[in-house]
Symmetry: C2
Subunit: 378 residues, 2 copies
């Protein structure tokens, strides 16, 4: 009987029109019917990615597509650069190290963002760097990096720009080609409004040169197999048919709304979320907050874990807490994908009740009022 | 408007009770609610696998779980043995080679089965072999290997027995522990009556010793992460929530029916399928036909590709043709999972019409009658 309100940065809520597609009788994947869906989806993904490059569909969580961006680009002993400002940035280093690559790491304090000049300096100092790995919106802290600036710097070098856009794509403005991002990784369960289980990766011509020279071991993650499958419309391995059929519906909805309108809406949602937090005295966390998730510091004397737990258990409202060193110290409200204006208001109304119950002093209705104000006036 | 009848060896049809679970509002994966589902499913999988070992759930196609059985067990330079009798057996060799392992290969002609004595001979000749990779039901040809006999031989050696049971598990009798199979790989889209997108792998204590010594690169496929997740009930990466919720329903149905009853039913279905083929003069393909899919040779003068195409396009009946060198030469009828007795009869009735249209001489109704007879009298 419990009613759920998902304001988590993945999985995000799934529109019923998309969810019901998952329940349709399954198609066989080696048929013209499925091939038509598969190539329609692959083509539509280019629009969402804002790229002319091929976008591959991978049956895995987003991390699988990240791993594919390591094994398809590098050789043992290759130089790589990781610029990280949070939990997901650190994942790049872990994956690279699992394959014996010791990357140079620009490690920025959690909550801060990457300084593009640091990447420029690193690339000048080591022109042998093959690939630069970083994060678009760092979900663990709620900040966004300046991808246009980083893209310009990397484009002027020999290196390939690889971006984890799992949580930001189809939410916050990301222009893959204009911003010269060679490899863009994303996942189905955030801006795409779909269940987890699919990941996506776009690959530029500059990156493709490395793909042909790469010698790290690859089989399931092999982009060469995936590229071939776009031509033949036959996936190398049995694809998650129901998720891809649902993805077609989700991408159709994204196209109908228009990607720029989605960016605009996320921007407005972020304004409302920030206004709501501030109105009840919660300090925003992070230097350059992104537009898909808003992080705020847990007030002194309040147990951050209890906020998340009570919201979920008593009111059915799911938000995220902090990860790693930020555990218990921040709360994170997502406002991307199928999270609507009313959901944000629900989130704040219940947050007001929970904080009150946890002994924090606030004026009830103030967060909601501030969010309403922002939603009305932008 | 087209009505589909799936008699393909994966994806197989999905029961509506399972399919509809995929459409339920999505749960967040870091909640007690999902953790309870996850651990219930992981526990139930042990029953389906007939094992006391942990069964890991992987977000990928079955091939991903195969790859995990390479990277978690071996070191560069390790000796491995592949015993193959078809397309899927050959995949083991390809994966091993992608990781720089040159396996010794027992290569049996497609349509024949592995002779357990050959494995015994190979293990005696090279006691350094770390792992033996083979296939349970080889879907590409429709045969089944003698797993009990192979298990006995490998158990007496130092090697670990790794079995691709993607298409046979939860269909044909497979007793993982009794037959001493150390690593059993399966996938969601066959006997499990679910959409593709999940793979499973059970790991014995004998295999786990190799996991700790293995040094091939692994990150996403790392069983150590998966083992930890069973304890903490938190998956290492965002799991395909909707598929796992649906899996819980599917496994509940399997438990309610009883795995031995499922084996018995598959056996009966296979009898009916073989009888139907023979009744209209089609010769069975393969030495030791399995019970989840029945292969028959395409009669001389008939275009095998046209049989498959016409069945699908004119009657909505999906069966499989041959793969690789068998393309156009065999047809394959699956009869596992949610493929019922009536589906088999539909398949034969439409096959009779299609063969007649393609100029093959047969007495209409004979295949159906023979299948009915087998279904009635076992």
């Amino acid at each position: 009987m419990k009613k759920h309100y998902l304001l988590t940065p993945g999985p995000t809520p799934i529109p019923p029109e998309v969810a019901l597609k998952e329940a349709l009788p399954i198609l066989h994947h080696r048929t013209g019917e499925f091939a038509a869906i598969f190539s329609d989806v692959a083509e539509s993904l280019k629009y969402v990615f804002q790229t002319k490059n091929d976008v591959f569909i991978v049956a895995s969580s987003g991390t699988g597509a990240m791993e594919s961006s390591v094994v398809n680009l590098l050789k043992p002993g290759d130089a790589a650069l990781v610029a990280t400002c949070g939990n997901f940035g650190e994942r790049w280093t872990k994956i690279l190290e699992a394959y014996g690559i010791k990357p140079q790491v620009i490690n920025v304090e959690w909550g801060k963002t990457i300084n593009p000049a640091d990447i420029e300096k690193a690339l000048k100092a080591n022109p042998g760097i093959k690939a630069v790995y970083t994060t678009f919106t760092e979900t663990s802290t709620g900040v966004v990096n300046d991808i246009a600036a980083i893209g310009k710097i990397i484009a002027a070098s020999n290196a390939v720009f690889v971006l984890d856009a799992i949580s930001g794509l189809a939410g916050q403005e990301l222009r893959s080609d204009d911003w010269q991002v060679d490899v863009v990784v994303s996942g189905s369960q955030k801006g795409f409004m779909l269940a987890p289980g699919l990941a996506f990766v776009s690959v530029s011509a500059k990156a493709w040169k490395l793909v042909e020279e790469a010698t790290l071991p690859r089989f399931y993650w092999d982009w060469r197999k995936m590229k071939k499958s776009l031509g033949t419309k036959e996936t190398p391995f049995t694809p998650p048919v129901t998720l891809i059929v649902a993805l077609q519906e989700a991408v159709k909805m994204i196209k109908a709304k228009g990607i720029e309108n989605i960016w605009q809406e996320c921007r407005l949602h972020a304004k409302a979320a920030r206004a709501g937090m501030k109105a009840i005295g919660l300090e925003l966390f992070g230097d350059n907050p992104c537009e898909v998730v808003t992080s705020a510091k847990v007030p002194q004397g309040v147990d951050g874990g209890k906020i998340v737990k009570m919201l979920r258990e008593e009111y059915g409202v799911s938000i995220a807490g902090g990860q790693g060193a930020l555990k218990g110290k921040i709360i994170r409200f997502a406002h991307m994908g199928y999270i609507g204006k009313a959901d944000i208001l629900v989130g704040f109304a219940c947050l007001e009740m929970v904080l009150t119950r946890l002994g924090y002093k606030l004026e009830k209705g103030k967060a909601v009022a501030a969010a309403e104000e922002a939603l009305l006036n932008g």
